[in-house]
Symmetry: C2
């Protein structure tokens, strides 16, 4: 509860911070207290970042990741391998893969997953653009890195089917027990996938 | 790790958000993604709140809570009981008590606790101002609501001693098992306090 003890600007700030993902009122109040004491430079810089975010960030016309130029940093990077596309649902997924350092090719951000119940069909995603890229960029392999959830799996299956007849290798990222995880705590579906995806070691 | 896949403004935003209390890089990235998609109004409003926070918020000259006017909302409120002061370490503590609705008197924010090892002595806190208020406002009761931590307890003890000879009742908020808590999980010191502070019920 934001009370009369909060001056209006602080009340507004706490209310707005509460809308951020994962932030409840306690955390929002804690952040506001921190911001009250934080150096002017920092708070001013944060405010400026927010304004610039909306003004400068747009979508890359090639891969649909976000960018502040015409092409995104990844599409514009000549050191990235061509001929290989990693298809993800969102820019957040792309960033997670980038942070792992495990992939050096190009990406394609679908900007969502198929969700027929929510009325999201193939034409609501960047699938037509994906098909165009396959030819234009002479893609040899498409890695389906949508999430292993209901919608993500459905999207991967749909794309696999769609690309079946094209001269392109289609692969799906592995599902299984996460590294550091514990077999006895894994859910049934994950265990099933881990077993199905077993690999010879000798 | 913030990578080349982040445009500079986004990289800066994530780095600044990571400085907020309780926010790691994953949460900061999640917030940034949310802000990218959030309505312009919301992001602009948040930026404006941040700028105004630094411009408008100052310290109440009476109780040292923060305010956007000359007196804070609580000191300016004629419906608050006079003659009673609740002494807290910080404005955040004041807000928590206000939210409980359990107190209708006036406050005094010390702006910290005694911490000799960090070089924080009585004159670094708003203790001289507290003594002045006792006379000016004809205070009958001082409730010591500093935290039940090492520094908070020391501060409460120091103030109790300081006020010993004055014609004012001094009380300390109770420590014990929190409501909804569990005796078997309470730590030793809390249990000791809960027993010491036991009250007759019949």
């Amino acid at each position: 509860m934001v009370t009369k003890a909060h001056p209006p600007v602080l009340r507004e700030l706490v209310q707005r911070l509460t809308k951020l993902p994962g932030i409840g009122e306690k955390s929002a109040t804690r952040m506001a207290m921190f911001l009250l004491k934080a150096p002017d430079d920092y708070v001013h810089g944060l405010a400026e970042n927010l304004e610039r975010l909306k003004r400068e960030i747009r979508t890359c016309p090639v891969c649909f990741h976000f960018t502040d130029g015409s092409l995104c940093g990844l599409c514009a990077d000549p050191s990235r391998k061509t001929g290989e596309l990693c298809v993800v649902e969102t820019s957040a997924d792309l960033l997670a893969i980038e942070e792992s350092g495990a992939y050096r090719g190009r990406y394609h951000v679908l900007q969502g997953a198929l969700a027929p119940l929510d009325g999201i069909g193939p034409n609501d995603l960047r699938i037509p653009e994906l098909l165009k890229r396959l030819e234009q960029e002479k893609i040899r392999e498409v890695i389906l890195a949508t999430n292993p959830t209901g919608d993500g799996e459905a999207t991967a299956n749909y794309l696999a089917k769609l690309l079946e007849k094209r001269p392109v290798r289609v692969s799906r990222i592995a599902s299984g027990i996460p590294m550091g995880g514990d077999v006895k705590y894994a859910d049934k579906v994950t265990l099933e996938r881990a077993l199905q995806g077993r690999r010879h070691v000798q």
